[in-house]
Subunit: 243 residues, 2 copies
DNA sequence: TGTCATCTTATGGTATACCATGATATGGAG
DNA sequence: CTCCATATCATGGTATACCATAAGATGACA
């Protein structure tokens, strides 16, 4: 009976889902600049879908925090939450801390092996030097960490926080001399988990977030003094930004 | 036919916003049962708005976690996250703890006065004995607490968690003998904040969540053994559920 | 020439109509 | 009574049409 060979792909993604993923990715990869207007009708053309679909997608991205509705002007790519970065990093430290702790306390050997594998991929990504790859691999690693810790809700929250500081994260990853310390910090976390030391794992995870936080802070200072960019420019925006 | 009980008057904000708020409230107040199907076109009639509006509202409620899309069946009121309640209460304890701590450490006298006022309202609500009132007043109190602690993001997260255990919360509030302990716990939190003892405030806040958690756990056990309700029944659902 | 009123246009918001598909219910044939 | 064909319904997806408003362009008058 169980012959799946000709079973139809039941998970047929709806057009809206595809459009949603595409848009989310486009925003997170900065194909749209923060602050850039997202005019509905042009978006229909760019995505090749109808306005209804675009509008529903925009509503979802809005509640996800990736898109802001400017009253009287419609949707725009959300600008980063500069006033809340401290709190966001604090929460990340807290949550990633408890995940690492729980993981060290209760992960199975299989789960630890999986974590090792994703960590290896993360190292490869660092070696490649492509920031977007590093970010993706980092996300994968943490996803596995939270999964092993059985903290799915916490993972959803952390993911939500990360979209709000997406720019900061990519800046910290691209920052000079971040590579060696980051790798060392990740190894500390894994070592503590492997040797089943919950407290040490929690501390290591918090340290990792805190060091990223420090980088982000100095990055903010620099861009704050210098060109005062980051807040999204109002000048000529990239317009059609082909998807 | 025309069930005008939740028809909205289009005057101030956008129609979609009004419909969203109305629906959110209706779900949280159990005018729709968990698991109940939310068929689009009937909803249009009940709300008195077009399908576009309903669909966009449903998308938003979906990403907020109040509505689940059942593949091939469309939207339904989300059932509570019974498998995740432990994690949710754990996170609430963590977050309300840090808010209370920060509040005790840095709240101004004005803010403390405001907290006292909301606490007084909460006591009134308990005196009234109306669970929905108690819930509302509790929410107000915590909102003020997080605001005074300058933890807006954390508050958003806690609010999000609360919608996922909305039923549990109303059960714990309605539970017998909850009133006196709850009031005592809240006073402990406020006393610690007033006397500027961050650690004590954090501990008190955590204790409060944990005792609610215990009530919720026993409530779950009872309903689990007993009628096995709570998960939302598939039998005759209330249909038009006059709002 | 400068200011103000008006017109136009772009945009968002809302309402419907339509189609294809998949799920469910119904009712008749065997 | 069972099983299958059909009808019905709900949904996802699309396309339009209409209206209100805000921004920008135009033009008249002081």
């Amino acid at each position: 009976m169980a012959d799946d060979t000709l079973r139809i792909d039941r998970s047929a993604k709806t057009l809206r889902t595809l459009a949603l993923e595409r848009m989310r990715e486009a925003i997170m990869d900065f194909h749209f600049q923060p602050g850039e207007r997202l005019v509905e009708r042009p978006l229909c053309n760019q995505l090749g879908v109808s306005r209804s679909v675009v509008r529903e997608v925009l509503r979802q991205l809005e509640t996800e925090g990736l898109v802001q509705m400017i009253p009287g002007h419609g949707p725009a790519v959300a600008k980063p939450d500069l006033g809340r970065t401290d709190e966001i990093y604090e929460l990340r430290a807290l949550l990633e801390g408890i995940a690492a702790k729980a993981c060290a306390a209760s992960a199975t050997d299989d789960q630890i092996a999986l974590l090792d594998a994703t960590l290896a991929k993360l190292l490869e990504a660092w070696a490649s030097g492509v920031p977007a790859e590093v970010m993706r691999a980092t996300t994968k690693f943490y996803e596995a960490l939270f999964e092993s810790a059985d903290k799915r809700v916490a993972w959803e929250i952390v993911s939500g926080l990360n979209v709000r500081i997406n720019q900061l994260r990519s800046m910290t990853i691209a920052s000079a001399n971040r590579r060696e310390p980051a790798i060392a910090e990740m190894h500390e976390i894994m070592d503590a988990i492997r040797s089943r030391k919950p407290e040490a794992a929690e501390a290591a995870a918090r340290r990792h977030v805190e060091s990223a936080w420090n980088i982000a802070r100095t990055a903010l200072l620099v861009s704050g003094e210098g060109k005062a960019d980051l807040l999204g420019r109002d000048e000529a925006h990239s317009g059609q930004s082909s998807l």
